[in-house]
């Protein structure tokens, strides 16, 4: 890096400032880096030619102030407000997550409809990324998603405060980014990791553009990368059930202990957790471990790069970064005072170059205020309407790569839609939750937030792995063998933030409000496995559990021959008797596909009655019957 004495360089392509006035002590080279113009008469005796310092260019190393200058009281206080805000929003998020399950109550009026007391999906309403991609795919803003404008407005004024002050994923990464990295080297590694690394920090913008393009092409598959969705999915469908399993095993052991206080402690902890945190019984989620493993991997990356998710992958952060260029609140630097101590970098959350000598990256900054709080030289100041001379406000992406990722997002959807699992060879087990919209619209809306799967009181909804194709990754499907859909329940529709599952009532579900009955599919018997059909053994648990009225399962009464299981007492061959059996059949016009029959069938390895998606009321094509039988 060469020093240009007194000569002014023309602003380079990445230089966002409008030209540096001649009398300013700073100048900008063609890389966009800011340099201190060396004064021949040094004011505090620093040798101009002394370039023994490591790091930023040819300016000499200044002597640090002694004692170090105190940061503004206001900033230190504001940093505490930020910490409290992070803690509060994380606690709120976790509370709503724990409440995303049906918790019955003795005081509840039994004739009232069953609803959740809290708006547990609230964080999604404020999520601009989810709102944006569903807007691009449907050209509507569903219900509460309008609240996302609040966060947009906040970002337009203050920058990425959502990331630094509100986002629970950000807070968790912040904590782990502080906790996990190795303490060897006294922070040298951490400082290096917190420098801006444009190549990897661009990735999140490309992911954002690809998600937006895919949304335009008709799929909100980008929801897989939404940070709130990721948290609900990973914690709700993997980490919490695993924790519940662990605690149950521990409780089994403490309950058998000979020590009284151990038993009480175990019982007490178990009681608190089962009332406040866990759902009512152990839930098992289809391929749930994949979600947990990915979550652990992303969290672990904080050891190497603090806030890895936020800096590298988060499309919501990228979106807010795009918006933050208009922010009225920002950082100014007094480069001449900087001594390259790098204390600002030690706990910088956004890797946005807070240090003197380079431009501040406004689109990367999380407004955590750690830099100004740490600076001992009064170099940094956060203020309203800062000057922009040493700020880069726009994301530093490469145009060609951005176009390529957008094109990839646009192209991927038609490619996937032209493959078999979207067309005629769709998966029979792609059974969607009750109240779901038609599959094309469903893929337009489902951001894979995991709320429906978490709230379902019967553990019936699960994240699809292959059942809905690659595009349908982690969208909800019904797996009756794990849990059936309770006929009187409407909770999944209550919590869906984007309208992939409509909000419906119990009456609508039963077809009592003028619309047709909500059906998820149809049940089919395997007569080779059904006990009364194949083995002359009485059963009909399926008929007993069928919740519709009249029941969709009806029985044929027959009297059939049965061979005894034992030889006669005198060695004669087993005798033939008869047995009265009730042989069950399904009426497809009444069956709602809830899966209660499949769940309770005693042939539990492969149930003798299974549900398939055909006959679902949301589809005009995935049906068998010509006409529903006219019901009362």
């Amino acid at each position: 890096m060469t020093q240009h004495d007194g000569a002014m360089m023309q602003p380079g392509p990445t230089d966002q400032s409008s030209g540096v006035p001649r009398s300013s002590p700073v100048e900008v080279d063609d890389e966009g880096r800011v340099h201190l113009v060396q004064q021949r008469d040094a004011d505090d005796g620093v040798e101009a030619a002394d370039d023994g310092g490591a790091g930023s260019g040819a300016k000499g190393r200044k002597k640090p102030s002694s004692p170090p200058k105190q940061p503004r009281k206001g900033i230190l206080a504001l940093r505490w407000v930020r910490r409290i805000s992070q803690g509060t929003f994380l606690a709120l998020f976790l509370f709503l997550l724990f409440q995303t399950t049906f918790r019955g109550h003795f005081a509840s009026d039994p004739s009232a409809t069953v609803r959740l007391p809290w708006t547990v999906e609230a964080f999604f309403y404020f999520d601009p990324f989810a709102a944006l991609i569903t807007f691009l795919s449907t050209f509507t803003v569903y219900r509460g998603m309008l609240w996302a404008l609040v966060v947009v407005a906040l970002t337009l004024v203050f920058g990425r405060v959502f990331c630094g002050w509100i986002c629970p994923m950000g807070t968790i990464n912040h904590i782990l980014g502080w906790l996990l990295p190795s303490r060897k080297g006294k922070g040298g590694k951490r400082i290096a990791a917190n420098r801006t690394h444009p190549v990897r920090q661009r990735v999140k913008y490309y992911l954002l553009y690809a998600s937006m393009a895919a949304a335009l092409a008709g799929s909100v598959v980008g929801g897989v990368l939404d940070p709130i969705a990721l948290l609900v999915r990973s914690l709700g469908l993997s980490v919490l059930p695993a924790g519940q399993y662990l605690m149950a095993r521990l409780h089994e052991n403490t309950a058998q202990s000979d020590l009284g206080f151990v038993v009480t402690l175990g019982d007490g902890l178990n009681y608190v957790f089962s009332r406040a945190v866990w759902p009512s019984s152990q839930f098992h989620y289809h391929w749930g471990w994949v979600l947990g493993a990915l979550f652990v991997a992303v969290m672990f990356m904080n050891r190497i790069i603090p806030r890895f998710w936020c800096r590298v992958l988060c499309p919501l952060g990228a979106l807010l970064g795009l918006l933050s260029r208009f922010a009225l609140f920002g950082l100014v630097k007094r480069h001449d005072k900087c001594t390259d101590c790098n204390l600002c970098l030690l706990h910088c959350q956004g890797a946005d170059s807070p240090q003197g000598g380079v431009k501040w990256r406004q689109d990367e900054c999380h407004m955590c205020l750690n830099c100004e709080s740490a600076c001992p030289e009064d170099v940094l100041e956060f203020k309203f309407l800062p000057g922009r001379e040493s700020t880069i406000t726009k994301p530093d992406t490469v145009r060609r790569t951005a176009l390529a990722t957008t094109a990839a997002g646009l192209a991927a959807i038609p490619l996937l839609r032209a493959s078999g699992d979207f067309g005629p060879n769709f998966h029979a087990k792609r059974i969607r939750p009750p109240g779901s919209v038609d599959e094309m619209d469903f893929l337009d809306r489902c951001v894979r937030c995991g709320e429906c799967m978490k709230v379902c009181p019967n553990n019936a909804l699960h994240p699809a792995l292959g059942e809905a194709g690659l595009e349908g990754l982690w969208t909800p499907i019904l797996i009756p063998r794990i849990g059936y859909c309770e006929e009187s329940c409407v909770l999944c529709g209550q919590v869906c933030p984007t309208g992939a599952i409509r909000r419906f009532t119990e009456k609508e579900r039963r077809g009592e409000q003028g619309q047709p009955l909500i059906k998820m599919g149809t049940a089919f018997y395997d007569f080779g496995r059904c006990l009364p059909w194949a083995m002359q053994i009485p059963c009909i648990v399926c008929e007993e559990f069928c919740p519709t009225s009249p029941k969709a399962i009806w029985v044929e009464k027959v009297e059939v021959p049965l061979r005894e299981s034992k030889h006669g007492d005198d060695g004669t061959p087993p005798a033939m008797t008869t047995v009265a059996l009730q042989r069950p059949r399904v009426d497809p016009s009444l069956c709602i596909g809830c899966g209660a029959c499949e769940k309770v069938c005693p042939v539990i390895d492969e149930p003798a009655i299974t549900v398939s998606s055909v006959g679902e009321s949301r589809s005009k094509t995935n049906v068998i019957l010509l006409q529903e039988r006219a019901d009362s």
Binding site: G104, H105, A107, D109, E544, P602
Partner: protein
């Protein structure tokens, strides 16, 4: 190091494997909860006057001699209503909540120290407890509601004809007295479900196998569990599409409550409320043959009020 490893191995040596340990489990059999018979008091009381479930329940219990005949001061009482299904009271799939609350109050008035209400529901328990109205009614009457959970079960041996080792809901067997409060309903497989069949809610595990020999299973359960008192809810009964129902047209108000110490006789009487006959129902006959009770209603002292 070697010594320590050796000692640890020696201490945890298991010569015979798992089978040897398991035979020691499940030896405990539960106690008989019945109180001594009284020749001066009837075995069964049927309350039919009026339509108020609380009044009918009280009348039936009083006609049997009052709750004091069954509950001593300081007793822990377990109450087992039918809270099997996620249905509202109007569907007559679960016991009437007012009947349950009346029994809870009567138990406390007779001096019970602690009353527990529980059942192992077929549908999701929290929804069933809440929508049946029993959770609220029993809580308001002062009972402790116990929701079924994995750790509430213990494996016991029933030594029945078809049922042997089964997980059993502990609160129901750990008490001093047990009161059975079924509802009279149609059942598609068994034809009728009442007092004897209500003990399905006592057991956990793979209950969906019992249907293969349902009548013998029910008789085994009724042999295993001998309750103190049985109150059969016939206020609103389910005539068709049982045991779940779901259509109000399948129900009928019979405004009857039966209190009895003989479950077989109680079922023999109650099945007629839904239009059945006792000799058509095999588990009633089996119960009669095993001597759990009598299905011949002429042989017992019935008081109608």
């Amino acid at each position: 190091m070697v010594g320590g490893t050796g000692a640890l191995a020696a201490l945890s040596w298991d010569k015979e494997g798992l089978a040897a340990q398991q035979s020691a489990e499940g030896q405990r059999v539960i106690k008989d909860f019945r109180v001594p018979p009284r020749s001066d008091l009837p075995s069964m009381a049927v309350a039919k006057r009026g339509a108020d479930p609380t009044a009918l329940t009280r009348a039936a219990i009083d006609a049997l001699g009052g709750m004091g005949r069954f509950i001593k001061k300081g007793d822990t009482v377990a109450i087992k209503p039918n809270i099997g299904w996620d249905r509202a009271p109007i569907h007559a799939a679960n016991t009437n909540p007012e009947v349950v609350a009346a029994v809870v109050r009567a138990a406390y008035e007779a001096g019970a120290k602690h009353v527990v209400v529980t059942d192992f529901s077929c549908n999701e328990p929290q929804r069933s407890f809440q929508r049946s109205g029993i959770w609220k009614a029993a809580y308001d009457a002062g009972a402790e509601i116990v929701l079924p959970a994995d750790h509430q079960f213990t494996t016991l041996r029933m030594r029945g004809v078809v049922l042997d080792e089964w997980p059993v809901l502990r609160p129901l067997v750990d008490s001093d007295k047990v009161i059975n409060i079924p509802i009279a309903k149609h059942h598609s497989l068994a034809k009728f479900t009442g007092a004897m069949k209500n003990w399905y809610g006592l057991i956990g595990g793979r209950r969906n196998r019992l249907h293969q020999d349902i009548h013998t299973s029910i008789a085994d359960l009724a042999t295993f569990m001998r309750p103190t008192l049985t109150i059969i809810d016939g206020v609103r009964v389910l005539l068709r599409n049982g045991p779940q129902g779901g259509n109000v047209d399948d129900t009928k108000e019979m405004n009857t409550v039966i209190a009895t110490v003989d479950e077989v006789a109680g079922d023999a009487y109650a099945c007629e409320l839904i239009g059945e006959k006792a000799d058509r129902i095999d588990y009633i006959r089996q119960g009669h043959q095993r001597g759990i009770g009598t299905m011949d209603l002429r042989k017992i002292d019935i008081r109608e009020v």
